[in-house]
């Protein structure tokens, strides 16, 4: 067991600066209006840095810088662009521990997760898109003996990307890797709850990218995000976050007729068929862990398996075992490598989770474990901690229909296959789902019947590159983590070429 020193303390593997400006045109520049905002760590609630408070003027400068770099970057060969992404991955890998500790301090999640998941996934993502880009081909269609259609992938130009706070570096990577691979230049606006860890990353990789290819403007959504989404000189906007903001961004994009990809969240059902309990073996143990997955990242995941649907015939036994499993989740200092669940990202998230626990109780749901905040004592008393919570109720309750975005799962039973699918699909969302069954046919059919873009089958919360990820219904538009994203960040140029010397016969 190791306890990492907090950034800046003696012996720490990483430190944060006292202040961060915007990163525009390859250098750090102060905000035009001169404002900064404080950035606390949710681990203790204390401020540890201040960050530039961007406005439309800064966004405009960033877009201009990105435009200036777009021609050359777009014309860079695929081999060279891929080499840049590979070097970024290598540099991150050489500094994995430092980035992991910085990310944990910024977001509140356990360092155990940033070391094992966030950073390795981000590193791999740059390598994946380097490879996908090298393998991408255009197309040729022979129309007739004299006519050939050549199809080329071309970059869009400058793209705007607005990313969330739940996996700051990983979410930035999911957006940046395909956009840069595809030959675009980027203006990225990090979430205001987690504005700083990207700058620790930039400090390590900025020299690998030509100036203006990647620009980072920090600030509040209404002051910096809105001018970016509305900017007349960007060619696409990508967003991960909540539903209403997603709609608003689509509205802004419509002003300039540009494409939008959105990842907007879910209320993912985790379905356990009776046969998972057929034996008390490794697979049953795995299914138990699958139930407890709602606590990963403190529940702050758009695909949190926040509804658990258990088949009636095994309900009592499974839920009993599952609650014990949940009660063994280790809560503690996020920089301890044994801690499994950290701090919620901010006070308002903490308050929102508690308000949902309250409405759950009012609606008559039963608390099987948790249901209260956790005071971890000492310096952690000012942080935002919630005990993993299991509610029992029915699918019409608000706690079964709305994203709580905390370590809270709502459990209900189902009788048969049709009942399971009906309940699973009775939601506005369709991002993730989990299906657990020893029977391959059942698992396959359930996966195809559930209206969700990602159906984990006998697993959960795995996010490898090369597996497409995205939502149905109100969960968004487009897919990530797969080479199809190159298409999302490119346009098709068709050269329709005639090799005939003769007039066509119209005029």
């Amino acid at each position: 067991m190791t306890r990492y020193a907090a950034p800046g303390e003696t012996g720490s593997v990483v430190s944060y600066q006292a202040r961060y400006d915007h990163f525009i045109g390859g250098e750090y520049v102060p905000p035009v209006k001169g404002g900064y905002f404080e950035n606390p760590t949710p681990i203790t609630g204390k401020t540890f840095t201040e960050v530039a408070r961007g406005t439309a003027e800064d966004v405009d400068r960033a877009v201009t810088a990105a435009e200036g770099a777009a021609g050359a970057w777009g014309r860079t060969s695929a081999a060279e662009r891929a080499a840049v992404l590979t070097r970024i991955a290598d540099r991150m890998e050489q500094n994995l521990e430092a980035l992991a500790v910085a990310e944990s301090w910024e977001n509140g999640k356990p360092v155990r997760e940033t070391l094992a998941a966030d950073l390795p996934l981000a590193i791999d993502h740059f390598r994946y898109f380097a490879g996908a880009l090298r393998a991408q081909e255009g197309a040729i269609s022979q129309i007739d003996a004299d006519t050939v259609a050549y199809h080329f992938h071309e970059p869009l130009g400058v793209v705007g990307q607005i990313i969330p706070w739940n996996f700051p570096i990983l979410m930035a990577t999911w957006k940046l890797a395909p956009a840069l691979a595809a030959g675009n230049t980027v203006v990225l606006k990090p979430a205001e709850q987690t504005p700083a860890s990207i700058h620790v990353l930039l400090g390590l990789i900025a020299d690998l990218l030509p100036a203006g290819v990647l620009n980072v403007v920090n600030g509040f959504g209404v002051e910096a995000g809105k001018p970016l989404a509305q900017h007349p000189r960007i060619r696409k906007v990508a967003f991960t976050g909540e539903t209403t903001t997603g709609r608003l961004i689509m509205q802004y994009a419509s002003e300039n007729i540009i494409p939008v990809t959105l990842e907007l969240g879910g209320k993912s059902p985790n379905i356990f068929f009776a046969d998972v309990a057929a034996a008390n073996d490794a697979f049953y143990d795995k299914a138990q862990e699958g139930f407890a997955m709602f606590a990963l990242n403190q529940g702050e995941v758009c695909t949190c398996p926040s509804r658990a649907l258990i088949q009636s015939s095994i309900y009592e036994r499974f839920v009993g075992d599952a609650v014990s499993r949940v009660e063994r989740i280790k809560q503690g200092h996020p920089l301890d490598t044994e801690t499994m669940i950290g701090a919620q990202a901010s006070n308002d998230q903490f308050e929102k989770i508690l308000s949902y626990i309250d409405i759950g109780r009012q609606e008559g749901a039963k608390v099987l474990t948790g249901g209260v905040p956790a005071d971890l004592g000492g310096e952690l008393s000012g942080g935002y901690y919630v005990q993993p919570t299991v509610f029992e109720g029915d699918n019409k309750m608000r706690i079964f229909q709305e994203e709580i975005f905390g370590p809270v799962v709502s459990v209900t039973r189902f009788d048969d296959y049709d009942d399971a699918i009906k309940t699973a699909n009775d939601t506005l969302y369709g991002l993730g789902a989990g299906v657990w069954s020893r029977d391959g046919g059942t698992a396959y059919r359930a996966g195809r019947d559930i209206q969700a873009g990602r159906v984990w089958t006998n697993c959960y919360h795995a996010y490898p590159a090369h597996a497409a990820f995205g939502g149905y219904k109100q969960s968004g538009i487009g897919r990530e983590t797969h080479k199809m994203m190159l298409d999302h960040y490119q346009q098709t140029k068709n050269l329709l070429v005639s090799y005939s010397p003769d007039a066509q016969g119209f005029f």
Partner: protein, 124 residues
């Protein structure tokens, strides 16, 4: 009676935001991250339409126009048995909600509507 209400703290914040931005509106967001919480925009900034329902109008002392509170129709089907009070907590919300730079975030506190209240709302 109204389906929506607000706390004194929220009213104070809305007076300040109205001074800065003019008439306002709310749309309750579903979804992850900063969702499951009301978004406050300048009136008309967020286009509502056929898929939305107006839950009510907030009347705030010192603010001339009532502030409408909207929600998507689909979401409303799951909320219609609850009463909503808009409150404020300290924090760092995002999305494009107007209060973020103030270091606070709007939040919904809910309670179940009584049978009598549900009947009254059905008639009205």
């Amino acid at each position: 009676m109204s389906r929506v209400d607000l706390t004194e703290a929220a009213a104070g914040l809305l007076r300040r935001l109205t001074d800065q931005h003019g008439p306002l509106m709310f749309h309750q967001s579903g979804g992850c991250c900063d969702g499951s919480a009301p978004m406050c925009y300048p009136a008309g900034e967020f286009r509502t339409g056929r898929s939305d329902v107006a839950l009510g109008q907030l009347r705030v002392d010192g603010v001339a126009e009532p502030i409408p509170v909207w929600m998507s129709q689909a979401q409303f089907e799951y909320w219609r048995h609850t009463h909503l009070t808009i409150d404020v907590v300290s924090g760092r919300g995002s999305g494009f909600s107007l209060e973020a730079p103030e270091g606070v975030r709007f939040l919904i506190r809910s309670r179940l509507l009584t049978d009598a209240e549900l009947a009254e709302l059905a008639d009205g």
